[in-house]
């Protein structure tokens, strides 16, 4: 493009005020509902706490994954928006805090924490060396520590680059990313096993970590897409940002919607085929009573609607469609986490109530407040990144 903007002519702008206001309002309303629910129905609130933790962890670690993926693949198109992922990744810092309500009520959530049950149960006592409270605590702390550590290291280099314009920092981040990827694969797998799969301690599925990963990267990508499209429409990025970038977001969203469906169906098909009671119980639980409608709803919400919503080429470029679909996918991921968590709380059916709603509002508010906090402190565009100019001029 001949009229390409001057990259270094960036002036920092405040985020739109209604964006900030909405974030604080959701945070306060959510917080009130969450605190209230802790007194009204402790157990249900604790289960919702698991949902909150897994959803926020999805956004945080998924954003970190996209930052790392950009460095490792040498992608340039996403460089102008990397800061959005970096700001969203900051929710990793509060993970230990939001894990607390669920952690202190783990006796009500996790069947395997009851020592007298484990003693009489052959399977649980065989799993006891892994599934016990102290090792569980250590693992959770280690995983969150790994994420926070790498988040800190990578974003520190990225921030430093804004002022120094040092290209070696990019090279350093690539090395850090290469170290992080295997750690990420292991940590997210075991994190999902600990907090979601062990809700049903007898049940196991070898693909479960991948299943959670597919939802995680999809949700994080949807959050990034929504914020990028919204802010870019209001002129927060450079003027070169348009269809080619939007198309890349849309195509990735579409791809990961299919990836999720592929993994989810693989998990179901293998368990259905083998027909072993200790495996099928998990799906049977989700097919009893009202849960059947929830399960059918999951297919429609998490796959059918986003699939057809993003299938056509024009819909991957339309900002309106992208904003709608990314919000929809975020909802679908919350729904997915609920579908995994809640049958343990209530068999044969379940109506989401104000407690779950409160936690959902709180999750949105928390993410937005942290985003605002980071956006207030730092540049919205990595102005020192050597790939930035190519990223803005990116053509498919």
């Amino acid at each position: 493009m001949s009229d390409s903007p001057d990259v270094f002519n960036y002036t920092k702008k405040e985020l739109p005020s209604n964006f900030i206001k909405f974030g604080y309002a959701a945070f306060v309303v959510g917080l009130v509902l969450v605190v209230l629910s802790l007194f009204v129905d402790n157990v249900r609130s604790a289960f919702s706490g698991v949902m909150l933790l897994m959803f926020v962890a999805s956004i945080g670690v998924g954003s970190l994954f996209w930052i790392v993926a950009e460095y490792l693949s040498g992608a340039v198109w996403s460089t102008p928006f990397r800061r959005v992922a970096e700001f969203l990744g900051a929710v990793l810092l509060v993970l230990p805090i939001i894990a607390l309500p669920a952690y202190f009520n783990m006796h009500d959530i996790f069947h395997w924490t009851h020592e007298e049950v484990v003693k009489t149960d052959h399977y649980l006592s065989a799993k006891a060396p892994y599934l016990n409270v102290s090792f569980f605590t250590i693992r959770t702390i280690v995983f969150i520590a790994i994420w926070v550590l790498f988040y800190f290291l990578i974003t520190r280099n990225s921030k430093l680059q804004d002022s120094t314009k040092d290209q070696n920092l990019t090279r350093k981040n690539i090395k850090l990313s290469a170290v992080f990827v295997p750690l990420f694969a292991l940590s997210i797998t075991f994190f999902a096993i600990d907090w979601l799969m062990s809700l049903e301690p007898h049940w196991f599925s070898t693909i479960f970590g991948v299943y959670y990963f597919s939802g995680t990267v999809l949700a994080a990508l949807a959050a990034i897409t929504y914020i990028v499209v919204t802010l870019s429409e209001k002129g927060y990025f450079f003027q070169g940002v348009k269809e080619d970038h939007y198309y890349s977001f849309g195509a990735l969203l579409f791809g990961f919607v299919n990836f999720w469906a592929y993994i989810a169906f693989s998990q179901f098909l293998l368990i259905w085929y083998a027909n072993l009671p200790e495996e099928t119980i998990w799906y049977l639980q989700r097919w009893e009573g009202y849960w059947m409608y929830f399960s059918i709803g999951l297919i429609i919400i998490h796959f059918v609607v986003p699939y057809f919503g993003l299938l056509a080429q024009p819909s991957k470029m339309s900002p309106k469609r992208l904003k709608f679909m990314s919000l929809w996918i975020l909802f679908a991921h919350f729904y997915d986490v609920m579908w995994i968590t809640m049958p343990t709380y209530q068999e044969f059916g379940y109506i989401p109530g104000w407690i779950e709603l409160g936690y959902a509002i709180f999750a949105i508010g928390l993410i937005l407040v942290i985003f605002n906090w980071k956006a207030g402190k730092e540049n919205l565009v990595p102005i020192g990144d050597p790939k930035l100019k190519r990223g803005i001029n990116f053509r498919l």
């Binding site: 001949s2 269809e243 169906f265 179901f268 098909l269 259905w272 085929y273 027909n275 053509r395 498919l396």
Partner: protein, 379 residues
């Protein structure tokens, strides 16, 4: 040069922006038969060339969906209708198991159809070449240059004006592309010796490999491990037993499930005296009796048991079952005949289960009644 037929005039550009601008200009000048060649799909080219939406996606969709439903129909028909088999304790119509196959067939048929259609359209099937192939122009545009090619078939085509247009756009390497001689002079000759010989060679290689695989390779380890198992196969000799018989006779007095030993062997009178039909004369039992009678009895005795089948006259005449003798026999006596046979009639004990024999007797009684009804039946 002049005896060659001109295909098009081509020009090269260095950047995607230049080629988009060039395509817009050529489009605005009113040319219709031109094409743009780039090393990768340049976005925005469709709108610059004002191309209508490609119709290929429709081919992909129609063929893909057809493939999907054909796969579903095929599996439904074979597994749940024509030859229902229980596989792995799953229902006859096991949709989750079909999904991967439906998916694969959809992808396969859609992609093959898309490629074939595209080749057919671009190369104008059955041609399998294109004048632009194997030219300097094509070498450049498939590596690092962006090219435009304005066809000589275009109604507005004029060598000089097109050349100056390309020059004004800043194109480099403006060069004409001609139809190749061998394409112009191409005469199809299917029975060319080289072609026939290569076909024969291919035939020999493929059949030889097939022969070796099926007749030699399969009998070499490790491919014969499935065949050569250390177990006794039915009818085979075994050295474990003294008498060398692999198949063992059951222990004396063994009764197979669903069978009872027949107590009245060679003793028809006792059978007639002691055996009683255990089946009630329900419609269901009569239905079974009719079916089995029509299959096993009617070829000789006839559908109405009058001994008037198509075998009559070619064979010792089968008796009618409406004779007074048979009518006065007890059910047990008839059962004995079916079980043991009589005169030319063989035993049917192997073809018919006990229940089926009794059901046939019920049906014979009904046939007899229909020809020799009692007064009381009329009421």
């Amino acid at each position: 040069m002049s005896d060659k037929i001109l295909y098009s005039l081509t020009g090269l550009f260095d950047t995607p922006d230049e080629i988009i601008a060039a395509a817009k200009k050529v489009q605005a000048e009113g040319y219709t038969k031109y094409d743009v060649n780039t090393p990768y799909p340049v976005h925005g080219m469709d709108s610059a060339m004002k191309l209508p939406m490609s119709r290929l996606p429709y081919v992909a969709m129609v063929v893909g969906l057809t493939g999907m439903f054909l796969a579903l129909f095929f599996m439904w028909w074979t597994n749940s209708v024509d030859y229902p088999l229980v596989i792995g304790g799953k229902p006859y119509f096991a949709l989750p198991a079909y999904v991967p196959i439906m998916f694969e067939v959809t992808v396969l048929s859609a992609s093959i159809a898309t490629v074939v259609t595209m080749i057919a359209i671009v190369f104008k099937f059955p041609n399998n070449s294109h004048p632009l192939l194997d030219t300097e122009y094509m070498k450049h545009v498939s590596v690092d240059k962006y090219g435009i090619s304005i066809s000589a078939e275009d109604p507005k085509f004029n060598y000089e004006s097109v050349k100056s247009l390309l020059e004004s756009l800043g194109a480099k390497n403006i060069s004409p592309v001609y139809f190749k001689d061998e394409v112009i002079n191409f005469k199809p000759n299917t029975f060319e010796p080289k072609f026939v010989l290569s076909l024969i060679g291919l035939f020999i290689v493929v059949s030889g490999l097939t022969y070796v695989t099926l007749n030699k390779l399969m009998y070499l380890p490790p491919f014969d491990w499935m065949m050569e198992q250390s177990k006794v196969i039915a009818q085979e000799r075994s050295d474990v037993f003294e008498d060398g018989r692999g198949m063992r006779t059951p222990v004396e007095g063994t009764v197979a499930r669903g069978f009872l030993p027949y107590k009245y062997k060679d003793n028809p009178d006792a059978a007639g005296k002691f055996l009683v039909n255990p089946l009630p004369a329900t419609e269901e039992n009569l239905q079974v009796g009719e079916t089995k009678f029509d299959i096993y009895c009617s070829p000789c005795h006839g559908y109405l048991a009058e001994g008037d089948s198509r075998l009559k006259g070619q064979f010792p005449n089968p008796p009618s079952l409406h004779s007074a003798k048979v009518r006065n026999w007890s059910d047990g006596r008839i059962y004995h005949v079916i079980t043991e046979g009589q005169n030319a009639m063989p035993s049917y004990a192997y073809q018919l289960s006990r229940e089926e024999r009794w059901a046939i007797i019920l049906y014979i009684r009904a046939l007899q009644r229909s020809l020799n009804a009692k007064e009381s039946d009329l009421q």
